[in-house]
Symmetry: C2
Subunit: 195 residues, 2 copies
């Protein structure tokens, strides 16, 4: 097959990349310096070889156990459960949460055939046992699948007698009530707090 | 450097790919099957090694001279000059033009420091000599740089005594006069034809 055609086809497999963008990228790669393209190809191969799941928190990391699990400055006893590694990236940006994490690698979704067995639930229970637990924060996405997963985990964790919390849902900071979406408004009214 | 971070940085170098998209792509590659990522990396490397400039038309091809130059069914004597290889892809889609091509690899743009010496002009003159020329179509883009390049080439080709034409500019087929942009309208009035 023509190397250009092959490259366009391969690039089109990437999410959000259609044939037009793939063609533009292929021609750009063609004109780019050889070492730039080599570096990109090499970085992609190294990614597959060099990243593993942390044996404790299941995050995708370069060494197991990961730095977030090994860091003695972080607060033991508080575990924040998320759906994807990218969620940790975003939460860490804020610098508010100082505890440990656990990555489920998805959420319960019957429509997509994803059940608890497909997620890192067993690993979650396993890592919670030895910990002197104060609180488990269920930070799955505020959507149907995320809520379902949180409910499931809350029930599962009840025997542990630990405090189980969920991130607050409602009106995002900086928006106006006039333009708030209906789902968030409904949730905000339902979960209103005492002042 | 963390392989994930390295991959995000490398992907961010691609045109139109910011850090957020690069992160999304990197995580997608992480979860993708190994052979998919290997194929993509390999396709990119093969692209750099397997694609060369056609010695006649300067198109980016897998073998020189390219199929468009070698094809005896195509019409000699008519050469369509374009700015980029992608332009040939699009013109060929229509199946209207049956002659030969020449790729300049850019257009004259003093603001960007691109002059005739940076384009495949010499190669154009060289390949035009032995051909029994009927017509040279200047199909550079209908913008300032493309027009400048066309004007320059028209003057350069005058001594050859060959017919030099430019693609028609005007109102695109399928649009409405009411919504036509001003530049195209002005050009359409200027270049109006006898019915």
């Amino acid at each position: 097959m023509d190397p250009l055609r092959r490259c366009v086809i391969q690039l089109s497999r990437l999410p959000g990349i259609g044939e037009r963008t793939a063609t533009r990228l292929a021609f750009w790669l063609l004109r780019a310096p050889d070492d730039l393209v080599c570096e990109l190809a090499d970085a992609m191969m190294e990614l597959k070889k060099g990243i593993v799941e942390c044996e404790i928190c299941c995050n995708m990391v370069s060494g197991s156990p990961c730095t977030l699990c090994s860091d003695s400055n972080r607060r033991n006893g508080m575990v924040c459960v998320v759906e994807q590694p990218q969620d940790i990236v975003n939460i860490e940006k804020g610098g508010v949460f100082k505890g440990r994490y656990h990555v489920l690698h998805g959420a319960i979704s019957p429509l997509d055939g994803v059940g608890p067995a497909d997620l890192r639930v067993e690993q979650l229970l396993k890592r919670l046992e030895p910990e002197s637990l104060e609180e488990v924060i269920l930070a799955t996405d505020p959507d149907v699948e995320g809520d379902t997963t949180a409910l499931y985990l809350a029930r599962l964790l009840r025997p542990l007698g630990v405090r189980v919390t969920r991130l607050a849902h409602g009106i995002p900071v900086g928006t106006e009530i006039e333009y708030a979406d209906q789902a968030s408004l409904a949730r905000a009214i339902e979960h209103r707090r005492e002042i």
